[in-house]
Amino acid sequence: MHVRLERVGVTRGDRVVVHDVSLQIPTGAWVCLIGPNGAGKTTLLHALAALIPYSGHVALGNQELSHMSRRARAQQIALVQQDARLPSGMRVADYVMLGRTPYISYFGREGREDRSVVADVLDELDLLGLRDRPLDQLSGGERQRVVVARAIAQSPALLLLDEPTTALDLGRQLQVLELIRGLQHASNLTILSATHDLTLAAAYADHLALISCGALVAQGTPRDVLTTATLGEHYGVALRVIHDDDGGLAVIPVRPPAAETDPRTN
């Protein structure tokens, strides 16, 4: 699903939080929003998920987002929230089944197709063994996998991910991101994510979009966007970008010169 954002803006009260963002996400591509805290990454994701009103245009394929019904939107766009609430004691399979809500009528129950989709998703995300487990007995990595599973059960064309790996250790981060990359390739899923972790963003996203103070200030391949000059300007600190021979890329913080720190604290 080709996604096109055209001059998208969000205001809260009289404060402009997102300003004139225009962005294209080709079908099956993974674009990652990066930027400092409070830059407007989450706000932009929430606007696309129709949680908050926005100005401008968003097109999904050839459909205008604002013209779609809630249900139609929910069948196309799934959001993995930063702090997804997991109802205490609910079982994994029941939780993932809630992702089928856009396909079930108001007072309806899940049907055969919903059950088979959920079974497939559980299988795909290696959760079949956990389907009876209460959500509060899962580890951090398992929790995140289950939250992604609920979003995938929505059978979305566009998957929005807000800081999908923040609370995880490095190994679990890679597992979850590999999983998402697998889903991206398997079902030609279009992905827009937001993260703080520049190095991981560079490793997984096809394109990066740097947002600062609500405006899109740079976009392109990781190599284009993650430069010492651009990052230094928008994060307000000194950073060094290192490229290795395999095309990998790492962002390394540079400590301010010693003269500026108080020697007594050392």
Binding site: A50, L51, T101, R109, D132
Partner: protein, 361 residues
């Protein structure tokens, strides 16, 4: 979603659902058995000694094509069918409704301390009942007596007021403002009720008796008064079972799944208000059932509202029937207020259940 899904469970059924679902069905079956047993106990035991086998004999003698004389005298027949049975049925209706409404509120407000009186039903009904008692208002409108009618109207108005106040505060998106609106309205109405009560201390005892609650009846009147509202609330709440699970994800997540959260909340609040107001109007302010029974059901391991709601109802109904049985027998021929029994029996039992179960929440 125009075609109804065919009900078919074949060998190729995907193994997606938790095995716990089979256990949930078992619990529901057990709930029905417990309720039936409680109601039988309520029917068989009372201040007047009537042998259970004679009650069964009387029942058999009433069946068509059976020619047999009832073993019960006319007085005993009246006691069983015009006093005990309506009382047992009313207890079951009230207890079931309070527990069902409590479970629905705990779900919709994502708050384990929520009970059916959360948005001011009790204070509104209390004010209405106090006005009826103190000013000796006595009329019948259609089939309704003045006291239950005023209590019902007070309860509905109180929640309506809490809803308006809660929605007008802030963005109106959060359920917290609704709860706070309920707190404000309840405080105000309770103050008014206390004021009226203090000015008319001679009727204090009557008001107090009403507040403590009772399912004592003088026939089927209260049951038929409450039944239509209870059925309406029951149907609406049970139909929202799956959506209450979705609401448990939080408002934002529910909305990304295409759910109109404010509409769902309004529908559930409306149904709970009608059901609770009807229960309170005929039985007074019986506490504890609506708060505790849903937690007992959760401790059994039931977590989806589709099972939680009906099972809460069955156990709430059984619990209140048994509490009433105790209320009318331990100090017979006089009676204990049922609200006292629900708390005195319920609180230690609940503490015991809490202790013996592994609670993770």
């Amino acid at each position: 979603m125009t075609t109804l899904p065919a009900i078919e469970v074949s060998a190729s059924e995907p193994a997606a659902l938790p095995r716990a679902h089979a256990r949930d069905a078992l619990w529901l079956g057990l709930g029905v058995v417990v309720l039936f047993a409680s109601m039988l106990a309520g029917l068989f035991v009372g201040a007047v000694d009537i042998p259970p086998q004679d009650i069964v004999g009387d029942l058999v003698s009433r069946m068509p094509l059976v020619s047999m004389h009832s073993p019960l005298s006319h007085v005993d027949q009246a006691i069983v069918w015009q006093l005990r049975l309506p009382r047992v049925v009313l207890g079951a209706l009230v207890g079931g409704m309070l527990a069902l409404c409590g479970a629905a509120y705990q779900g919709i407000f994502r708050n384990p301390l929520a009970d059916p009186y959360l948005l001011g039903v009790a204070s509104g009904a209390g004010l209405g009942a106090t006005i009826a008692i103190v000013f000796a208002i006595n009329f019948t409108f259609l089939d309704f007596q003045a006291l239950p009618l005023l209590a019902f109207i007070g309860a509905v108005l109180a929640v309506g007021l809490a809803y308006v106040v809660g929605r007008s505060v802030g963005a109106g998106r959060s359920s917290t403002t609704l709860v706070l609106g309920g707190v404000a309205v309840a405080a105000f109405l309770t103050a008014m009720q206390t004021f009226i009560q203090q000015r008319h201390t001679e009727q204090l005892q009557l008001v107090y008796n009403w507040i403590l609650g009772s399912v004592a009846t003088a026939g089927w009147g209260q049951v038929t008064t409450m039944l239509p509202y209870a059925l309406l609330a029951l149907v609406v709440i049970l139909l929202h079972g799956r959506l209450l699970d979705v609401m448990g994800l939080g408002d934002d997540a529910a909305r990304t799944l295409g759910v109109r959260t404010n509409r769902v909340r309004l529908a559930v609040i409306g149904a709970v208000t009608i059901g609770t107001a009807a229960a309170v109007a005929v039985s007074g302010l019986i506490g504890f059932v609506g708060l505790i029974i849903p937690h007992v059901v959760r401790l059994l391991g039931v977590r989806t509202h589709r099972t939680l709601l009906p099972l809460s109802m069955l156990l709430g109904a059984s619990f209140l029937v048994l509490c009433d049985l105790i209320a009318r027998t331990v100090v017979s021929p006089s009676e204990l207020p049922i609200g006292v029994v629900t708390a005195v029996i319920g609180a230690p039992c609940f503490a015991l259940v809490l202790r013996t179960s592994r609670v993770e929440a």
